[in-house]
C-alpha cells in the first residue's frame, strides 16, 4: 500500500474537523439538564450535526478505498484529545485529572501506532 500523500493528510484533517464539529452539535442538541437549547435550536443542531457526520462518512469512505485501514485510523486518533478540549471549552464539561492523563496515554498510544 502507498504512503499517505499531502492530499490524503489534508482530507484526514477535514475529516477531523467535520467529526469534532458534528459531535459537538449532536451533543448540544440531545444533552439533558442545564444548558439545553430551545427546541428549534435543538432540531437545527441535530440536523447540522448529522450533515457534518454524513459528509465525514463519504470522505472517509474515499480515504478507505485508497489506503490501508490501519494507516488511516491513527489520524482519527487525535480526535479524543481535540474532542475533550472542545467539550471542555464549548460545553463546559469537566473531567477528572486522572481522565486527562488517561487521554494523553490514549493519544500517545495512537501516535505510536501511527508511526509504526
Amino acid at each position: 500500500m502507498k504512503p499517505l500523500t499531502l492530499a490524503g493528510i489534508l482530507l484526514c484533517t477535514l475529516c477531523q474537523a467535520l467529526m469534532v464539529g458534528g459531535q459537538l452539535l449532536l451533543k448540544r442538541s440531545i444533552a439533558t439538564g442545564e444548558g439545553r437549547p430551545a427546541r428549534r435550536g435543538t432540531i437545527r443542531n441535530f440536523i447540522a450535526g448529522i450533515a457534518c457526520l454524513t459528509l465525514w462518512f463519504f470522505i472517509w469512505l474515499g480515504l478507505l478505498s485508497q489506503w490501508d485501514i490501519s494507516k488511516l485510523y491513527p489520524f482519527e486518533g487525535l480526535n479524543p484529545a481535540i474532542m475533550a478540549i472542545a467539550a471542555w471549552l464549548l460545553l463546559k464539561e469537566k473531567m477528572p485529572v486522572s481522565a486527562w492523563f488517561g487521554l494523553v496515554l490514549v493519544c500517545v498510544g495512537i501516535a505510536i501506532v501511527a508511526g509504526s
Binding site: 469512505l61 475533550a84 505510536i112
Partner: protein, 133 residues
C-alpha cells in the same frame, strides 16, 4: 427480555461497548466494500464503493452504531464518551488482523497496549460515579 437484562442493555456504558463493536464490524465491512473494486476506481469521494454489497452491510451496521451512540451521548459527557470509544483503535487493528489479514508490528502492539492503559484511566472515575448512583 427480563427486566434486569434490559437494564444492563440500556446502561449507557454497556451501550458504549455495543456501539464500539458495531463500529468495528462496520469499518471492516466498509474496507471490504471499498477494496472490492480495483483501487482507484472508487474515487476520492468514495461513492463508487456503493456498488458493493459489503459497503451496504457496513452502512446498516454503522447506522445501528449511530443510534447507540446518540443514546450514549445523551447520558455520558462528550469528552469521556469519545475517549472511551477510542477502544475501536484496539478493536479495529485486531479485527483487521483476524479477518482482513493485515499485519500488526511489535511497535503497533505497544501503541495498542498504551491505548488500553489510557482507556482504563478514563474509565475508572466514570465507573466510580456509576457505582454511586
Amino acid at each position: 427480555m427480563p427486566r434486569r437484562l434490559l437494564g444492563v442493555f440500556l446502561n449507557p456504558y454497556a451501550q458504549l461497548a455495543v456501539g464500539s463493536i458495531l463500529v468495528t464490524v462496520s469499518e471492516l465491512l466498509m474496507k471490504k466494500g471499498a477494496s472490492d473494486l480495483s483501487a482507484g476506481s472508487v474515487g476520492w469521494l468514495g461513492v463508487g464503493a456503493l456498488r458493493s454489497w459489503w459497503t451496504w452491510a457496513g452502512i446498516v451496521t454503522y447506522v445501528l452504531s449511530f443510534i447507540s451512540w446518540v443514546y450514549v451521548l445523551r447520558y455520558v459527557p462528550l469528552g469521556i464518551a469519545f475517549a472511551l470509544i477510542s477502544v475501536v483503535h484496539v478493536l479495529i487493528p485486531l479485527g483487521a488482523r483476524i479477518f482482513l489479514h493485515e499485519q500488526i508490528s511489535p511497535r503497533r502492539w505497544a501503541g495498542i497496549a498504551l491505548v488500553v492503559c489510557g482507556l482504563l484511566l478514563v474509565l475508572r472515575p466514570a465507573v466510580k460515579a456509576e457505582e454511586k448512583l
